[in-house]
């Protein structure tokens, strides 16, 4: 068994779903071939088992020949062992094939997601990409998995055909034409079943969502006393789902019964023809038993063929979705000839708004319209959808620099910043500056209490998207994370919007010590919080995308009525 996952998932051919599947299959050609080989041996062994049993009865039992009986019993035992051995080997290869395809899909999509970065949410719904991780990976895995049994099915079908035709041409033809016909007969029944099952699955999914709602909504429900109404609604939904299940059962049970009847009918037919031939003396008793066995066996390979067809169709649909994601290109690419990076301690300027951020300074941007200030923050960090040459670092337009270089020197942390799962200490120490730097940053963000409440401190495993923390805790951790990264230019958007005034005041005071008074570090804070504005060296008021006033918080409060309106607008009655 090879070691998984692959170190490098490779460069896929995503020009069409078919080509993508072919590219995947080529990449695991050796294990696919292994699975197929054992699949053929395994099903072949099952296929000839009835023949061996027939011989044993004819030559051993009926002829009362002890040596022959022993010989054929030994052959049966040997064949059984071959079947067991090849069966497990086939299974091992099939699992490997499943895993290679599934992991590779996850790796490819994950790498593509980080490659696209901020472009991703603009080009495709995140749900689409997430669905790849929940369902598409297993569809792609299954088609690789079933390939081993599929080839066994095809080969064993022909093997049995040859044996049958060589024993009796008419009986052989009945079996060879009849069995596929029988499978086709079941087909029309599958359509209403699929329809009803799809409806049932939909209802089951909705029901599961409602149940999951309890977890996220329990506090909300308890707050307003909605438990009983919720329960009544859940009960109704649950009963609708039950009725849908019963409707499925009505069709499903007919299908189950047909799965008994059709092969059974066929066996009866074969036995009848065989027994008549045997009565006429053209078939031996053992051959009759063997024919019975073949007719029963052939259902298995045919079912496998149907299974393969279904899984292949689903895999193509999944491959199409994966291809769509893999074909996306990021909005911004590196310039062909990147300009040399300006020396550290460069000034960040935006010609469009007139904003200047000198090294060593803390500049606050206040704005009545948060969209405007958010766009400015995005442009400063080259994270906006449209690029322009107006933002410069040390006189060099950001667009002339490598994307990675801009990210290294200018970091934007906005209200949508996400926390990721993993060890807390690692998640906070992005640039590897060590635990001391992290602790200092946590202190600045006034997040010591968050850390103290965790029994394992920095070793705590953060839950997915940091959802075990409250909104205020998450915001402080996000702030600590960028502070610990200590970038040359830091752009923060409303970093304290979910934090209480006491804590905010503490952060504002410590923040100056952390960032300011270091000649090579500059900071921009987009905020309307008076506590943060008061901590800045310089406050600018943004109006219509341009700086219309600047000064200190106190100066502007005094002299600029528009600023006063923005900052004190919050008096607008939250209470009373």
């Amino acid at each position: 068994m090879r070691n998984l996952p692959l170190t490098d998932p490779g460069t896929p051919d995503h020009s069409s779903p078919g080509r993508f599947l072919w590219w995947m299959a080529r990449g695991q050609a050796r294990t696919l071939a292994g699975g197929m080989a054992f699949g053929i041996v395994w099903m072949g062994a099952q296929a000839v088992m009835p023949a061996v049993l027939g011989r044993a009865i004819d030559r051993g039992v009926a002829a009362r020949d002890g040596d022959q009986l022993l010989l054929w019993a030994a052959v049966m035992l040997g064949l059984g062992l071959v079947q067991a051995g090849s069966g497990i080997m086939r299974h091992r290869f099939a699992v490997t094939n499943w895993l290679v395809a599934a992991y590779r899909t996850v790796q490819l999509v994950g790498r593509q997601a980080v490659h696209l970065g901020g472009t991703l949410p603009r080009k495709v719904s995140t749900g689409e990409v997430v669905a790849i991780g929940t369902s598409d990976l297993s569809h792609l895995g299954q088609v690789m998995d079933v390939s081993a049994r599929f080839s066994g099915a095809v080969v064993s079908f022909f093997l049995v055909s040859v044996i049958l035709l060589s024993t009796s041409v008419p009986l052989g033809l009945v079996v060879l034409v009849g069995v596929p016909l029988m499978m086709l007969l079941i087909g029309p029944l599958l359509r209403p079943l699929n329809r009803r099952s799809a409806h049932q699955r939909q209802l089951m999914g909705d029901l599961a969502n409602s149940a999951t709602d309890i977890v996220s909504g329990l506090r909300v429900l308890r707050g307003i006393g909605g438990e009983q109404v919720f329960l009544d609604r859940y009960r109704r939904q649950s009963q609708t789902t039950r009725q849908a299940g019963v409707r499925v059962a009505r069709v499903q049970s007919v299908l189950d019964a047909l799965q008994v009847f059709l092969p059974g009918f066929f066996v009866v037919l074969v036995v009848w023809l065989g027994a008549r031939a045997a009565a006429a003396g053209s078939l031996t008793a053992g051959e009759l038993v063997a024919f019975y066995g073949y007719a029963a066996f052939l259902v298995i390979p045919l079912r496998t063929v149907t299974e393969f067809a279904n899984k292949f169709i689903r895999a193509r649909v999944s491959a199409r979705r994966v291809c769509t994601v893999l074909a996306l290109r990021p909005d911004h690419t590196d310039p062909a000839a990147p300009a040399p990076s300006p020396p550290p301690g460069a000034e960040l300027r935006d010609a469009r708004s007139g904003l200047r951020v000198r090294p060593g300074r803390l500049v606050a941007v206040a704005c009545d319209r948060p969209d405007e200030s958010a766009l400015l923050a995005d442009r400063l960090g080259m994270a906006a959808a449209e690029l322009d040459d107006e933002v410069t670092l040390g006189g060099v337009p950001l667009t002339a620099l490598r994307r990675a270089e801009v990210r290294r020197r200018v970091v934007v942390s906005d209200t949508g910043s996400a926390l990721f799962s993993g060890r807390l200490g690692d998640g906070l120490d992005l640039s590897g500056r060590g635990e001391q730097a992290v602790r200092e940053a946590l202190a600045t963000a006034s997040a010591e209490d968050v850390l103290e409440a965790l029994p394992e401190g920095l070793d705590t495993e953060v839950a997915e998207r940091g959802r075990s923390f409250s909104g205020g805790q998450r915001q402080r951790l996000v702030l600590a994370r960028v502070l610990a990264a200590d970038p040359e230019v830091l752009v923060l958007v409303e970093p304290t919007s979910a934090i209480d005034a006491h804590t905010e005041a503490r952060i504002a005071a410590r923040f100056r010590r952390h960032r300011v008074a270091r000649p090579d570090r500059s900071t921009v804070v987009v905020t309307t919080s008076p506590l943060l504005l008061d901590a800045a060296d310089e406050v600018v008021l943004l109006d219509g995308g341009e700086v219309c006033a600047s000064g200190t918080h106190a100066e502007l409060l005094e002299t600029c009525p528009a600023y006063r309106a923005v900052v004190t607008r919050e008096v607008a009655e939250a209470v009373g």
Binding site: L120, G225, F261, R276, A279, V289
Partner: protein
């Protein structure tokens, strides 16, 4: 916060008792399923017998007429088996769906009654696993595994019976299979459950990592986390591979040993039958029938064995679902009814974890119609006090009463007519917009469309609500139309209008809102607060400024209490904050 204590898990005996109780509730369906399956299996067993007879007839020379008669009989039994199978399956699935519905409804009933403190101590992940994975696993077990297994057991038992009815000697070769079967199964089942649980957990993690990478793609780029995320995805795949490799190694040993234990009886039957036939003690037909019966045993026994680990996992899920019912309730409703709407906390102490008190002897009187703002640093106990004032938790000592009656002695429905709590969580439930709002309507009262529309109008949300694709009937929440956070918050406020409580506790109700929507929301909120008693836990001082009284909470105590002007004049910690807010040092 301490190390998470998980919710209880029911013991094996409790699970067994529950299963018996469920069976007793559906005697007719249950007996019907068993009888139908047994009859279907008996009908199926006619085939080898008749085939054996044919073989013997052929061997001894027979006529076409005899062959036709036997084959007609064969066809008759097949038809019988088909019809019986159909009804056995149908009744089985109807029963399964009924049991499943009962189970999940019971579970949701108990989950809704869980004390919040218990859920939080266990971490929401525990309850989430139970509501999603365990309910799904149990559904799979009840819909598929249990009926298949029952059928397999019945078929195997009857097939064995039929084989032995051919001649007692057939039992001997079958016994050969028992020792390897029992040993193999015990070995496998002791390891399989944990192995598969671990395996499925690794897939949840792959999924979670991919989801947060995709959803946080912007952050990944901004902070240069690309390599770290890729490494984590690869690590998750590696963990998953380790788990897969383990279960595969279990199967690599288990499957072949099972196959060999199936093989032995078939070969032995043939040999023993052949010898007995040579001795002239049995007929050729009996040998054929016996061999076919023993071969026929393989399929049901294999299914029985293969499904056992599914059933084992189903039982484990059931135990976790039933465990939720074992959490003691944190409130007992009494008969006393409040005399008025005066809310009073008297020397209240509270701790989430023993020996870590969050509130120390806090007392607070809230007058009818009064507006109190609660301020203080994070972790000082503001939210906890708010929850106690809203009757979410009972105090450890002291009392929180409305009109003289402890909040936790009121039935939940009644309680919410007096006090409601709104937090920064603005959860949109799966369902229509109307259903989302109707949640807040006390049972026994019906909300008309006019009420719902009026509530939306009161919070200034009518315009966007009517603009939704299907108006009030639009599906919202996970999977439906996504509401923006401010819309979700307005929804929460509209619920309050419908719930119509006398007193509101607002725990930073608008704090997580994007500032660009805050002003709009504040207007909506003002409409809701009209004419009610309000306790507001504020994160920005502006809300404190206009309150009747301000309570400063620090380290689990109310350290300052008075009007804004009084507190500013007193020069305490509130005054210091107020100054810095105004740019004065």
């Amino acid at each position: 916060m301490s190390a998470p204590t998980t919710l209880p898990v029911a013991r094996g005996r409790a699970v067994g008792r529950y299963a018996v109780a469920v069976a007793r509730r559906h005697p007719r369906l249950l007996v019907g399923v068993l009888v139908l399956h047994a009859l279907a299996a008996v009908a199926a067993l006619a085939a080898p017998r008749l085939l054996g007879e044919l073989v013997e007839a052929v061997e001894g020379g027979t006529t076409a007429g005899h062959v036709d008669r036997v084959v007609l009989l064969l066809a008759g039994f097949l038809l019988l088996q088909t019809v019986l199978t159909r009804y056995a399956r149908l009744v089985g699935q109807v029963l399964g769906e009924e049991v499943l519905a009962e189970l999940r409804e019971d579970f949701v009933d108990h989950a809704l009654a869980l004390p919040i403190g218990t859920v939080e101590a266990a971490g929401s992940g525990d309850l989430l696993t139970r509501t999603s994975r365990d309910v799904e696993q149990l559904g799979w077990s009840v819909r598929w595994a249990l009926p298949e297994w029952t059928t397999a057991v019945i078929t195997a038992t009857l097939t064995l019976g039929a084989a032995i009815s051919v001649g007692w000697w057939v039992a001997l070769p079958c016994l050969l299979a028992l020792p390897p079967l029992v040993v193999g199964l015990r070995w496998y089942l002791a390891r399989a459950k944990d192995g598969y649980l671990r395996e499925s957990a690794t897939y949840s993690r792959i999924n979670a990592t991919l989801t947060e990478t995709v959803e946080g793609a912007r952050t990944v780029e901004a902070l240069g986390l690309a390599d770290e995320r890729v490494r984590r995805i690869d690590d998750d795949c590696r963990d998953s591979f380790e788990a897969e490799r383990y279960t595969l190694s279990l199967r690599t040993r288990f499957f072949p040993s099972m196959e060999i234990s199936y093989l032995l009886p078939t070969v032995a039957t043939l040999l023993l039958g052949g010898w007995l036939y040579a001795e002239g003690r049995v007929g050729l037909g009996e040998v054929t029938a016996a061999t076919l019966y023993v071969q026929m045993l393989i399929d049901p026994v294999d299914r029985m064995v293969a499904i056992l680990d599914e059933l084992q996992m189903g039982a484990a899920s059931l135990a976790r679902l039933l465990g939720v019912a074992q959490v003691p309730e944190d409130r007992v409703a009494g008969d006393a009814r409040p005399a008025d709407e005066r809310l009073e906390a008297d020397t209240v102490r509270f701790s989430y974890v023993p020996d870590r008190p969050v509130l120390h002897d806090v007392s607070l009187d809230v007058g009818v119609g009064e507006r109190i703002a609660m301020v203080g640093p994070s972790g000082a106990g503001k939210s906890t006090l708010g929850r106690l004032l809203a009757g979410i938790h009972p105090p450890d000592s002291g009392s929180v009463t409305v009109g003289g009656v402890p909040l936790t002695a009121l039935p939940l429905d009644d309680l919410r007519g007096h006090v409601a709590l709104v937090t920064q969580e603005h959860h949109v439930f799966v369902g229509t917009l109307r259903e989302n709002l109707a949640l807040a309507v006390p049972t026994g009262r019906v909300a008309t469309d006019a009420d719902v529309l009026a509530a939306l109008d009161a919070v200034d949300a009518l315009e966007w609500a009517l603009a939704l694709p299907a108006g009030l009937d639009t599906e919202v929440g996970s999977g439906g139309v996504a509401l923006t956070p401010p819309q979700a918050q307005q929804l929460a406020l509209a619920r309050l209008v419908l719930a119509d409580p006398h007193t509101l506790v607002l725990d930073e109700a608008t704090s997580l809102i994007d500032p660009r929507a805050a002003r709009h929301l504040e207007r909506s909120l003002a409409a809701v607060l009209e004419g009610r008693t309000v306790v507001a836990i504020a994160h920005r001082l502006f809300s404190a400024h206009d309150a009747d009284r301000v309570a400063v909470v620090e380290e689990g105590r109310i350290t300052e209490l008075g009007s804004h002007d009084e507190l500013v004049a007193a020069g305490g910690s509130y005054a210091a904050l107020w100054d810095s807010w105004h740019g004065r040092d």
